[in-house]
């Protein structure tokens, strides 16, 4: 508490010294946020927009339907794999994110699965998955969802992103969700769906409310899922948007700051374990 208060005081004094040319937004004074789902190829403009809004880390997602193959491997060098030694998992997991250096731009693999066969290749040693910094799975059926929440799949992925555009076609078992959360996996809510039409927004609110009731609060991550820069929102605006999901602003802020940091730290620890120290 005292360290964070001191950091805030330093930030305020620095902002005043800079004068009117820099306007310290609430985002600037608070801890930096991360957006772990930009559905786009690496886009400098989109990254710049995100940075201006107050995000210090963004992840560009590549979507894959069904089974992975070798040509799905990432050709862009990951931001995390080159900084494996610098991320401190313990601090991130305990919420002390002020000491975790920002990773900047990350790569993410989003795997859409609707049968358990498509999860056969999902394991820790998969080279295609290791070429990405983060791995997320979108299970479209109950069997696939159950498989994602159990080993070995749960140990090799970072995020489970539920298909919230329509009503989720299966019930969210709190036991399974808690089990996956204990293994370190987080559950993702994409707020860009709320910016579409009214029906999508209703489904999103209903599904997010179910998720909030069933999953531990510390395992929820809010990201944009935006494919264009105009769909991005500043972190504090996201926190207020998340009140639609019956979350408090405080919890929603954690879902954009501390929880994504925990996801990144876990991914970094997994890369370090499997690929060794970056040299």
């Amino acid at each position: 508490g005292q360290v964070r208060g001191g950091c805030r005081l330093v930030a305020v004094l620095a902002a005043r010294a800079l004068g009117s040319r820099s306007l310290p937004s609430p985002q600037g004074l608070a801890m930096p946020s991360a957006d772990l789902n930009l559905v786009s190829k690496v886009d400098e403009h989109m990254q710049e927009v995100a940075m201006q809004l107050g995000y210090d880390t963004v992840a560009f997602a590549s979507e894959v339907q069904g089974r992975m193959s070798a040509h799905h491997a990432s050709r862009v060098p990951g931001g995390l794999t080159s900084r494996v030694g610098q991320v401190c998992p313990k601090l991130a997991l305990h919420g002390g994110t002020s000491h975790v250096p920002s990773a900047g731009r990350l790569s993410r693999l989003t795997l859409h699965v609707d049968s358990t066969d498509q999860l056969r290749d999902v394991n820790e040693g998969n080279r295609v998955m290791l070429s990405y910094d983060l791995v997320a799975v979108v299970p479209h059926t109950e069997d696939a969802f159950e498989r994602c929440c159990n080993p070995p799949v749960v140990n090799s992925i970072d995020l489970i992103s539920l298909p919230m555009e329509t009503r989720v076609p299966y019930s969210l078992n709190p036991v399974l969700l808690r089990k996956a959360a204990r293994a370190g996996v987080h559950f993702e809510v994409r707020y860009a769906l709320a910016l579409r039409d009214s029906m999508t927004r209703r489904h999103l609110i209903a599904n997010a409310l179910q998720l909030k009731r069933a999953a531990p609060e510390t395992s929820i991550v809010i990201s944009s899922g935006a494919d264009v820069g105009s769909k991005l929102r500043a972190p504090l605006d996201v926190a207020h948007l998340a009140t639609l999901f019956h979350m408090s602003v405080r919890l929603a802020r954690q879902c954009t700051i501390a929880h994504p940091r925990a996801v990144i730290a876990r991914a970094a620890a997994r890369h370090e374990r499997l690929l060794g120290t970056a040299g």
């Binding site: 040319r21 306007l23 769909k231 929102r233 500043a234 504090l236 207020h240 948007l241």
Partner: protein
């Protein structure tokens, strides 16, 4: 009788309208207020609109600098901010409403808005030092005139 004054506590949301276009001539304070009210209605229905209607006012809006000040009762700040976050279009233009600050009094609101205005104008070629490329004098004068107008309107803003 002893009449007691009920102090209505308001909050002022200061922010900017972010868009790909330079100026937003068709957007006015009334258009912005109508869009915000519509967004509240979409999300919270009749209950939401009825709650914010007495207090929701756009106190200041500058189409040139894209800065707005919205006043609402304190208890409906979160409701309003969530409604403002989902706005994607105003007057057929794709925009994003970014709330920079929440102020509790008209005085602190004006102070913050003035700083935001000077921050926005420093990004424009108004003849300040450090401007990368100096525009023609006529354009500079136009931006300076727009800035003066915005400052005067801000100073006249009633609580």
């Amino acid at each position: 009788h002893q009449w007691t004054m009920v102090h209505r506590r308001s909050r002022y949301l200061i922010g900017s309208v972010e868009s790909n276009e330079d100026m937003l001539p068709s957007m006015t304070a009334q258009v912005l207020q109508a869009q915000i009210r519509s967004s509240v209605g979409d999300l919270y229905g009749d209950f939401g609109v009825g709650s914010v209607l007495p207090s929701l006012t756009v106190k200041f809006f500058s189409p040139a600098w894209r800065i707005f000040i919205v006043r609402v009762d304190r208890e409906f700040v979160e409701l309003l901010r969530s409604a403002m976050a989902v706005i994607t279009f105003i007057a057929q233009r794709e925009v994003r409403l970014h709330v920079v600050r929440t102020a509790g009094s008209a005085r602190s609101c004006r102070r913050c808005a003035a700083r935001l205005l000077s921050f926005e104008t420093s990004k424009r070629p108004c003849g300040r030092q450090g401007a990368a490329a100096m525009p023609p004098p006529r354009e500079r004068e136009r931006w300076q005139e727009l800035r003066r107008e915005a400052e005067v309107e801000l100073a006249r803003m009633q609580p």
